[in-house]
Symmetry: C2
Subunit: 306 residues, 2 copies
Amino acid sequence: MTADPLAAFLTAARAHVDAALERVLPSPPACPAIVSEAMRYSVFAGGKRLRPILVIAGAEAVGGQMADVMPTACCFELIHTYSLVHDDLPAMDDDDLRRGRPTTHIRFGQGQAILVGDGLLTEAFAWLAREPDDAHPAIVARKLQTIGVIASAAGAAGMVGGQALDLDAARPHDGAPRPTFDAAALADMHARKTGALIAAAAVAGATMSGADAATIRAVGVFGREIGLAFQIVDDVLDVEGTSADLGKTAGKDAAAGKPTYPALFGLDRSKALAADARGRARAALETARLGGHLERLADLFVQRRA
Amino acid sequence: MTADPLAAFLTAARAHVDAALERVLPSPPACPAIVSEAMRYSVFAGGKRLRPILVIAGAEAVGGQMADVMPTACCFELIHTYSLVHDDLPAMDDDDLRRGRPTTHIRFGQGQAILVGDGLLTEAFAWLAREPDDAHPAIVARKLQTIGVIASAAGAAGMVGGQALDLDAARPHDGAPRPTFDAAALADMHARKTGALIAAAAVAGATMSGADAATIRAVGVFGREIGLAFQIVDDVLDVEGTSADLGKTAGKDAAAGKPTYPALFGLDRSKALAADARGRARAALETARLGGHLERLADLFVQRRA
């Protein structure tokens, strides 16, 4: 038994998220068995549900309730999972294992893995759009705003754009030269690739809970800074960690010639940059007087890969 | 100069759709140049914009205006394009040419093509969610309902599910036996794969324009029936057509061992089934007393592949 309030919050939030995912992911006869099976294999693969938890913490920090943001929270897990399934494909990062299990394309074939990702991304929006006919207009308006926040963070200007830059850095098409990355270009790529969706999770929780614009902005700064710290730590772990620690192949980014913080700044300076971002995240919360679990949640993102 | 009102409607609608797509697809610096270029290459590839036109016709049939459904209309083109880009990948249908041009993965590489599809799907929802802060609550509610209609039709129970069945029929994973298809299974696969999104286009136009539930249902029947007729004709053309007619390789479905209407029913019976579906589509419009261009638009879907 633990008396740690964060641990109790995490345990409760994870159980609720897993139960909601189990309940809402489509099953036969609504959808074909092969899609249902492959989607569930991908979603129930031992993830820590950090993004949904961040949505819930973002809601609670501004006075919202976990139950009211559960669909929003789960959407982030569907979108995160879709991004991993596509990222693992041979044409992208080409990973056979994730969290010690065969990746979706190894288990179900590449074509089905592409469709699983497409399906998870689409189901995220189907789920978000589901509101009772008699829902309060303010809730409906927040829902539409939240869909916009999520889609913008996940789309061509956000996660997809970051992945495209990352892929182009490692594998330029048709013999084009590798692009060079300075600090600004590296920060831009990482902000899109991982920071945008992490920031959107905190922002979505606050938005769905009716926070005012200034509070939502502060939550956004917090999210972007922990997203940045998260990515720098991920780059550091790729150098320092073991594959067992990471649950994926260590040293892959360096081997693929991808631009990373350690490659550009060295390990010590990279760690200092992560700590700086962590400090700015803390300051954003303090300025907006936001309590709850957000501050300590940040450590979960920063201390190790989600 | 033409005096045909349908031709004038099609010309005007296509021009508006193309202009809106050009305006709203993200560009640098909002998104990386590589994503913008590859998305535009895929979207501006000579498509007939039949799905957006069906949204507009669905709106006008119930008294709505083209301008009010333009984002909704364009979303269907983004989603249709994403489905083509992913469908053309080597792990799926493996097509090198579409409408006589190199497919997206040939031009930009498989990884970028996966990301282009992901980006187009996500941008569709980002675009749909964009409403002014002072939008009327009824419009906001219709928007959320429309997002639900589209995501359900495009997701695991709809298009993605149909694609998964189609892929599994042609290429079972890991040496599993090919599934057998009877008439019901074939109709189910096609209803998901192509019918659902076509029906959703007409329904979305009517929904955004504030049609009542009975009218929306009739528009849905119309859409599903022309979707079915469209797919049967597509199967027939795969047997009878030339690659030049189709803008893609003829005879591919049969060669891949995919279940098709001609394979199950023969050519003559297949053509009769398409005509039956076309008749049911007409009857649905007549019963709901829906005028406008919907009835003649149906012929565009049925007479040849979009």
